[in-house]
């Protein structure tokens, strides 16, 4: 750890009593934030706590006047009208989704919107000299003419920072900077942030990776339910991860999973020799000869790092909805069954809840009732005519049984919170009465309370004798929920552990090596 808090740093930024309302929702309520010059300040909180909203207020995405409270920056109250105004003041935000243009070169991206000109014409010679300098500062050894699409996400992140440095940044805001990076890229980025700190640049970092925060942050402000809870001084308060979690959820996490006694039956679903190629690049295999099975009443976990091929496996089994099928068989109740398209898979009793709720799981224009019945319209139709009374009744029944928080089933799904959206998606698949339900990151973007309820629903499905596959990046979730866990590494199943023998350590080993388990 390299942080130094010996001399008293002056406060560079203070946000006082920031309140931001959206129609019907108070996203931020009297939030305060004090950032000292030259420190790395972390903001922690659960999804939906208001971290990103606070940063959007700071960077002028939500302009002055659309919120209450003051932003005092370098001793002066600021009224940023747009993101340009905050950038001119030296506050630069790097968003989770990188704002780079794939077809343009590194150099063109660095100077986008800020091109060095000579009499109105872009001075590319100047741009080249400066971009070489900037790339050296962020430690990126790449030709400035390389198109962005040809470099990895980690390097793209560095280009974003170079772009910020070019704007003579004083406060750099990073929103989940390492979310999509691998271990070594993450470490490089963290080192770079510390390096910038050495040059007097203040950083505000939003991250879910508490170990990283512990590693680089000087202070931590915790936000919960749109309110600032506390600010911790890492060194002085001896902060560790548990301390942060306690602040984030407001209690210690003891029982995160409902009680559940599994009633496991016979094997009814089995996949053999499952091999699938990438949809565009046909000689790249995303699933390599995978074998797995699911028993009645069993919750089966799939563990693997991002990009290991978990989603690819699930979606290719679900009616070949991903990739290019190469070989493999599916046996349902011992009989080989062809699942060549999604309707066939649904007819065969499969359901798939996607990890990407917004772009693959929901039609955000629909309301709750239309969504609930959308995967099984036949059940409420007679001669292809939908019985809207039945539709209403079905949706209402699920709304009550899953305790979806919405005024009525006519509410648009776009207006629901992540947890309630997920309940609607679950309702949709429960209504198809599947034998096997595949849940891909079922609690992503969902807060703790709703997670608990969704775990309950999953266990209830298993109790009804259905098979459930849960794919998750959160190992504690898998460990708490699953009866058996498969591990995947680079498209191949590397092992399977029973609940009793699985631990984070044993899973992690299998998730990061090609070693075939016994």
């Amino acid at each position: 750890m390299t942080s130094q808090t010996t001399h008293t740093d002056p406060v560079i930024l203070e946000m006082r009593s920031i309140t931001k309302e959206f129609p019907g929702v108070k996203a931020l309520s009297e939030v305060s934030l004090r950032v000292k010059a030259g420190e790395v300040h972390a903001i922690c909180g659960e999804n939906g706590a208001g971290k990103s909203t606070l940063m959007k207020v700071l960077s002028g995405v939500y302009p002055f006047g659309s919120y209450d409270g003051d932003i005092v920056y370098q001793g002066q109250t600021q009224q940023f009208r747009d993101i340009r105004a905050s950038e001119q003041a030296g506050i630069v935000i790097i968003h989770q989704e990188l704002a780079l243009i794939p077809e343009l070169s590194i150099m063109e991206n660095i100077f986008l919107g800020n091109e060095p000109t000579k009499r109105g014409v872009i001075d590319w010679a100047e741009a080249r000299i400066r971009s070489t300098e900037l790339l050296a500062r962020v430690g990126l050894r790449e030709n400035p003419d390389t198109p962005i699409k040809e470099i990895g996400v980690g390097k793209q992140q560095l280009v974003e920072i170079a772009k910020a440095l070019n704007k003579s940044v004083k406060i750099l805001i990073l929103d989940e900077p390492t979310a999509a990076l691998n271990e070594s890229d993450s470490q490089h980025l963290l080192d770079l942030i510390l390096g910038l700190k050495g040059r007097g640049i203040t950083s505000i970092i939003i991250s879910h990776k508490l170990n990283e925060i512990e590693q680089i942050a000087d202070s931590i402000t915790i936000i919960r339910d749109g309110k600032s809870i506390e600010t911790l001084n890492v060194k002085a308060d001896g902060v560790d991860e548990d301390r942060i979690i306690k602040g984030m959820v407001g209690r210690t996490l003891e029982s995160r999973f409902p009680d559940h006694t599994p009633k496991i039956g016979e094997v009814f679903f089995e996949v053999k020799d499952w091999t699938v190629a990438h949809p565009q690049i046909q000689d790249r295999l995303v699933c390599k000869g995978s074998n797995f099975f699911v028993r009645r009443g069993e919750i089966v976990g799939f563990a693997g790092l991002m990009g290991a091929g978990r989603t690819e496996l699930a979606r290719s089994v679900f009616g070949r909805s991903y990739g290019h099928f190469v070989s493999g068989q599916v046996y349902i109740h011992g009989k080989e069954t062809a699942l060549k398209n999604v309707p066939q898979a649904i007819d065969a009793g499969l359901g798939y809840v996607t990890e990407d709720r917004k772009s693959l799981g929901l039609n955000l224009l629909d309301d709750i009732k239309t969504t609930t019945v959308s995967a099984n319209l036949q059940k409420i139709s007679k001669r292809s005519v939908v019985d809207t009374d039945k539709e209403f009744a079905v949706a209402e029944q699920y709304r009550k049984s899953l305790r979806t928080k919405a005024p009525s089933v006519q509410e648009g799904v776009a207006k629901l919170s992540g947890g309630n959206q997920q309940k609607v998606v679950l309702a949709k698949w429960m209504f198809t009465d599947p034998e096997l339900l595949i849940l891909d990151e079922p609690t992503r973007g969902i807060d703790v309370g709703a997670k608990y309820e969704i775990y309950g629903i999953i266990q209830q499905l298993a109790n009804q004798g259905k098979g459930v596959i849960v794919i998750s990046s959160e190992l504690p979730e898998l460990l708490g929920l699953s009866d058996r866990i498969y591990t995947i590494f680079e498209g191949a199943i590397t092992g399977v552990l029973d609940k009793a023998e699985a631990s984070q350590e044993s899973l992690m080993k299998l998730m990061t090596s090609a070693r075939k388990a016994a």
């Binding site: 959206f22 990046s473 992690m508």
Partner: protein, 427 residues
Amino acid sequence: MNALKKLFGGDTRQFGMIFALVALILLFQWLTGGITLTPGNVINLFNGNSYILILAIGMVLVIIAGHIDLSVGSVAAFVGMVVAIAMRDWNLPWFLAILLGLGLGALIGAWHGWWTAYVGIPAFIVTLAGMLIFRGAQQFVGQSNSIPVPREFQFIGAGYLPEIGPNTGFNNLTLLLGLAAAAFVVIGEVRRRRSAKALGAEVPETWVMVLKLVLICGAILYATYLFATGRPGTSFPIPGLILAVLVLVYGFISSKTVVGRHVYAVGGNRHAAELSGVKSKKINFLVMMNMSIIAGLAGMIFVARSTSAGPSDGTGWELDAIAAVFIGGAAVTGGVGTVIGSIVGGLVMAVLNNGLQLLSVGADWQSMIKGLVLLVAVAIDVYNKSQGRASIIGLMMKNFNRSSNGPGTPLQPDEVTSTKATISREA
């Protein structure tokens, strides 16, 4: 405000358009000194615009599915021309000629649908090509001449409900039709209310329903009166009848059938629809095919009304139909729109056209005014969505009610961050 909302089933957007239409009609009624709402003019209004309104029905489905069809004018002209030639040169009887036209439309639609759905070329490109191809084909088969159609065929474009029954001073069939429509609306509403109550859904107060029914039935009966009291020999026009049937059929299909639901699903989020088991290619194919069948029908109605098929038939129709659909509340991105909304949108354009012609406003000014109306209608819609309000009426009432639950309100931005704290901790 709340009462108004209840009055129109919460769909204030649609109410806004109907409100604008009524306002427009009253405005022109005043400006033209009462000519607008005369039997003759109302009949003209329907006759002269039925084919655009019919096209709008097909177009709204295409647009809901997330596509566009630029070829409808050319396809309509081509079908009209072929049908005219078939009747003149091959002596095909008129009913067979209509079947031929619909079949030809289906064939052309299958062509468009195949390229769009199965080859994956954007409908904009496919139908732009179709627009050129079928315009050329039309002029080729017609030798750039006008081809007259027989009198029996003209009935579908220029005919009226016949005079039957006792001498009541009204056209009896029109009268019956109007009464049936009013009864249909009343019975439908009462039933819907009853079943909503049975399901435990919220229903508006009785007076709201009664007022709503009085307003709607009043409008229907007034229109009936106008149509039934025109010059003898005229009554409710046949193209209007065809239109009414299509509105009922397609309104039903789009809102109450599995196929209709799938069209909305594909337009709203194709991937989500596919993962829910919707065969999106089939839906896209059907939607494009249907459009061309409807275009063929519109072309035949126009030819029947024009008494002959001409080389420049159908020019610019695609744009009129598309404008009607967007004024009627459809979204450029797909997934949103209604058949009835598009008809209202088309009627706004039609009333505007008719009113301006009655006022002897030149074609140049008409074009400018229509362009501005399109822009303003869609702009109000976009503005309201961004403000979380739903409609023109919502805009007008905003000072009276700071309602916070208008549809389309963006909630607090959702943070979709994958929480991988544990993994990184272990690694």
